[in-house]
Point group: D2
């Protein structure tokens, strides 16, 4: 998949978008371009559902937004309200069944739903519903949510959603369309981001604000944790269905997931990353000649590190921009140097120099060793690895695909052990406090459970054996 | 679509197959070849679901069996029990959502279901279920049936199915797999065919017996109307859940749908068609020089007509065998002679002769005129059209796609008017009695509602305006 | 490939079409539909080149006519003169390089050429040209021909072609467009067919007359052996560049290749085949109850056999119409009964009967055994195989893909040996004289070299070891 | 196309690679990964030809390297010597005919050839050859070259190539395989780059050295202008077929085409670009708060500009990494802000600041205006545009696709006019001298004809009207 662009990273689950544009003739086109701006949040499948007077049509398929949709398909998707979804890349069987948006018919008519996040009590609810004779056709939480909404249809769509939200636990940013409404919901902890934009003649809901510019919308505000917004008759109505929960926006959004040109809960991702680099330079200073980034995700922090440390910033690694999904299978020899398919070292820049190499995170640690080797092979005299996040040590239950413990290098090794494994001359991780400080948010406003094990809500109990396995 | 092979015909809805072959390594391959033999029953989509120890995997897609499945996909579908489905061709939007088998998870585990037929009370049930908060993701009856089964899961799968069958009305041949069972069900009137075959180490359920030979199975017997058969532990168990209903196998199966090498409820389709041709010759004799068929569906009856009338049988029309789905759009002129893309006249054989042209049925009548013109243009001195079924005059509610009345030439015109429209020198339709006699079945054993309006059960009430419209 | 419809047959190399339609807006569409009518002559690749005021554009690709062309492509191919080509199916590597028409630029401008046939001195000429520094990009004879024309460009296109024709030997039906001309050429022996049609505002050249009806053209005459026709300024000019050669139209065109609704050199293919069946009945009479055909290619002859013998004609084998290119790989067991994927026996019709089974030809003999087994397995008491052509015993050098000797059952076995191999109760082949008589042509008007070894021209000398191998 | 990644740039024609690896089992795989590293030089088509004992097989198709080749295709391409080619993106008709390598058969056997560059006397030679009866099947210079080689085959392949090189004029980096040889040739001026690498058991020829690392090769040296290298029997032989020509490596290779991690004729592209940024800062200093790049091509120079000027470097524009080939057609409104599909502004970083925006070149100027607008719209108080190359004012005849004059903003406008058009507060171009100085090469070692009109050889005469149009 295209996010093989980035090696050894945690994978986001999804991105969502909602377009409310009655009278517009290009609602689905706006959704298309908005989804395209959210493509980094998921490259497995893409889908758009369009609502025209309560009738919903949709198209979803495996692939990137640009691969899934053609002029002809977008042309056919005519309507007033659109919701869209991108999903992250898995391998193996074709999971088009699990692509979103999910479109169902219930007593209240057609209903389309797109979900970013993960429920921790979905299985419990699913089993209860099956007891009552409900069938499920997918394994996605969206189907559980849609069923729960449908079962409360007599209270009207808004109450049905509100009540459902009170029953589910976990992370979710939801966009829903039904009847003449576009609805957005964010979980009580605000684990997943969702924000509101305004455009000529309409509104947009989006996982990230970076989608607004391309469709000509302006950022208004974030959806609040525990808030449901209903857009109808060209107005936004807000229902705060949950209050008092600890705010806990996923800190990995700032570390890696979100695009640097997005603003999440009032905080610029770019500024946070630069701050993180600066704090990292204070926490782990070193004498060196050049600060380089592991492109592209380490670049912003590397610039911050350079500014703080007064060591010049430069490029040491060049990325091949044409890394797509359909590589041939390299033979053994080639595989051993697979990082070279994506990265090449700039000998002229690193030879004879002491290098600070800034990366955003280390998950398995497999490619770090290869990159350090590349740099040393090109003549770097020292390689000091600086990581803009703390060691990843705990499983995420809120929608992030964490590897099992034996593959999670930070869970089973000390920093010194990792340093040795990757062959660095020194290794420094950003502290949890540093990460939080970089976002200018209060500590309680971020979820840092994957670093600390301190989950913002009760998570499924598992024997110690399975502590780090998700499935 | 491929059944553009045949012009101006009623369209069958589906074909189903079920394979019970524990220990076999090629269960899905058997399903594949079986489905391929049923391809004439539906060319829109194809699907196979495979059950391995209660776990069900599936693959379904738009297209012919050969287009949908590859070696790789078949290889991946490993298991003991398979069910398969082919669906007939529609145009417009992609309806892969409606492809079958439908695979769901309910309290009793995974359940896969394939359905040929149409329920007359599906909408009523669907509305009742929606009242109770059920969501639907497709518009196929199978989803209604699966939901009803799931809601009775506490009684066990067999009772759940049995009870469900008592609640639904209409036509259905169902194959279902769940747990370790392969289950077949046929509606109380036996409107749709379903039969049982035995093979080395297993059993087969199939819409038609023509699928048996290719997979090395032998015909045992038909599933009886109102019967459910459960295949498990290498044994067949039978439950007669409904008795006393009038048997009413669809007469169009004999006229056009079924393959001539199938045997339905004990009656060879080939022999029925030849009989029909013979009876037609008695009912509408004519002096002529040559009996020809409109290929391929009129061929058997034409041979029968020739035998009875002692007029020589020969070919007058040659069919282009390469008629597929992806034709370019012909311009106006070309469209007017569209029949020529598929049929060419054999001038040498028809010039100067009085021709009896045997067709299996006339639905819209649009191509009959073109064919008569072709023959006359090639020098036929007379063209006597003989049709091996009565005029189609009423809508089918049991799974056959009937055109609206204004397009149903037999509903709004007398035989003489039709004769004039199509430019024939004489026109003779087989009588309803003749059709029934041709099958050697008792009158009450066939549904001939599309000819007579005499439905085997109550059908949805509609204002006269909509009498002939299905949707 | 689609002509897996037909088992164990010799394969034709190609079909060609030329459309001269200045002022028409649908020239390429006419070529498309014409090619579609010639699809039986080749299913590997299809191509159309269009000439607009001397500029030639083209499109060619692997696949059937309908698969290769889309509305968009046909729309883009605007012009006054079109030539088209279909090529027969081979396996293995992608040979799009060898697809036709071949379009080249030479001193006289763009030149497009489509060829049906095979030159026997192509390799000799190719070597001579390479000696002089010519490069070749394909392995098709068309490139040799185009080069030879180009090297004589100073004499004008007509003379250049005429002179080239005098240098090449073998079989060819050529259509060429260059400048404002559409040119057709047929080899001096007339081994491959080519005929001329007239339509509103233009002319058509086609391998077979069956393509005329669909595009609204009328047959005028055949191109004569050794004749070049030049269509320009709405007129046809004829140049007889060779006279006195023995006419030798390929007899397999009548046996199997051509469509029955074509007329070749004045002789109806349908009538020839029926005659062949009648003569076969005289040459090899038998007492039997039913005459059946191996569909579809044996049908016409079977009708003739039945008429002559007064044994009733009926159907005993049903063909699956949905046999396409992309079958999955059947396992060993399935492969042994591969004929069942295509043919099913009509038990009702053959059980207890003495059957005459008429086939058009036997090449390898591999499927004949399977079919006889099928019939006996269904209860036929006797199976008498009658073949409407003599045993194929010699290699063809004129464009037909003949198997190597060890696979050519007629070359290495006596008729009695073959009878035993295929398990027939009796076996009768049509005699060479009978085949010739069936076409009402003089003996010298047909090439029957594959039966007799009597080639109409000198063919490449090969050691006895390679007598039957082509390559 | 993928290089829509980069807006308003000149387009490179091609990249070539040659692999000499007898005994290796993965020759074609090495070519694949090498081509992938050269993907930036052409995204229209890709091809690999493989030579096994003098037999050449090949595969080429429209698309990126990863799209064109599959495991299966690479597996099939077994041999000792491979050559590969990537070609740049054009629109409209399918030009697979023009894809390379070109593989031909001539008297000396199979010969494959891949070419980067453009001949200025190709048309003249082509016409002379056509006079002598040669046909051409493509419009690429490679076919002219191959024909000329073939016509001199009697002198042996090396002499034939040498003599051909003396007859052709223009730019070329050629890789050729024939017999047991891999041959590389570079034109007498060295307009296009070509270098030699060594790997375990073999050699590599490549347009750029950046391809070496991924396949485990080490840079040895550049092929010299006017040099032919012949690799055979594991040895490299050199023939200097032309001496004394002025060296004139294309300066745009340093400006934009080449990857920064390549070294061309001894000069690091990265270092040149950084130098160019520094010199630009000296030539066009300005007071400002932040230096940003137009990503990705302006980044290196921007870093240099920042270093020299002591203004901080930062990111102001974020690029969407998922820009592929198959975008839907945006409507009018969307088109006007098309740059937003690819670039988003970092408001936090630019608001309230005086910005230096560094771009590598301006060709049409169309997107510069949009980007300046973006920055001002985000609150930049001043935008000073700095361009790391001189104004493009003259047509290139050596393989670069230059727009017509009316679209070449530097050819028809003064710098001040351009500044006004793009809405910048100031605009500074790098001088020709500055560009040359940045590469540390002597002036006479670079071709800067597109800036100066001073061509390194005579170019086709054209009336003034067509001075800037290439075709």
């Amino acid at each position: 998949m295209y996010n093989r662009f980035d090696l050894d990273k945690l994978k986001e689950e999804c991105g969502v978008i909602g377009i409310y544009a009655p009278n517009a003739k290009n609602t689905s086109q706006l959704a298309y371009f908005g989804l395209h701006a959210l493509q980094h949040r998921g490259q497995e499948s893409a889908g758009i559902a369009i609502n025209k007077g309560g009738q919903v049509h949709y198209y979803k398929e495996m692939g990137l937004v640009q691969e899934v949709f053609s002029d002809e398909i977008i042309e056919r998707l005519q309507g007033d309200i659109a919701i869209g979804h991108v999903r992250y890349s898995t391998t193996g069987e074709s999971y088009v069944t699990n692509a979103q948006p999910l479109v169902v018919h219930h007593k209240g008519g057609a209903l389309a739903l797109a979900h970013n996040g993960n429920l921790v009590n979905a299985n419990t609810i699913r089993e209860e519903l099956e007891d009552e004779g409900v069938i499920f056709q997918t394994s996605i939480d969206s189907e559980v949510i849609a069923t729960m909404i449908a079962r409360q249809h007599k209270e009207g769509i808004e109450n049905a959603i509100k009540n459902t939200m009170k029953q589910i636990r976990g992370s979710y940013a939801l966009v829903i369309t039904c009847g003449e409404k576009l609805i957005g919901v964010r979980d009580p902890n605000g684990l997943r981001p969702l924000c509101i934009g305004k455009m000529d003649g309409g509104y947009v809901l989006s996982s990230e604000s970076c989608a607004f510019n391309v469709i000509g919308a302006e950022f208004i505000r974030d959806v609040e944790p525990g808030e449901m917004v209903i857009i109808e008759n060209h107005e936004i109505k807000s229902i705060q269905y949950s209050v008092g929960e600890k705010k806990a926006l996923c800190s990995f959004e700032f570390v890696y997931f979100a695009r640097p040109d997005s603003v999440l809960d009032g905080q610029s991702v770019y500024v946070s990353r630069r701050n993180a680099g600066k704090i990292l330079a204070k926490e782990h200073p070193i004498e060196a000649d050049l600060v380089i980034a592991v492109p592209d995700s380490g670049t912003v922090a590397a610039i911050g590190y350079a500014q703080q440390s007064n060591i010049p910033f430069g490029e040491g690694l060049i990325k091949n921009r044409y890394v797509g999904r359909t590589f041939i299978q390299p033979d053994q020899k080639m595989r051993e140097r697979s990082v070279r398919l994506k990265l090449n070292v700039l000998k002229e820049n690193v030879a004879g120099k002491r290098i600070v190499m800034v990366d955003d995170s280390i998950v398995r640690g497999t490619t770090s060793r290869q990159i350090v080797d590349l740099l040393k092979g090109a003549g770097a005299t020292e390689v000091h690895v600086r990581v803009c996040s703390p060691p990843v040590r705990y499983s995420c239950y809120f929608g992030i695909d964490t590897p099992t413990r034996k593959n999670l290098v930070g869970a089973v090794n000390s920093v010194e052990e990792i340093r040795e494994m990757i062959g660095a001359d020194s290794l420094g991780y950003l502290s949890i406090e540093g990460l939080i400080a970089s976002t200018s948010m209060e500590e309680c406003s971020l979820c840092s459970a994957c670093f600390s094990g301190d989950y913002p809500m009760e998570v499924p109990k598992q024997g110690s054996k399975y502590l780090f396995e998700k499935r």
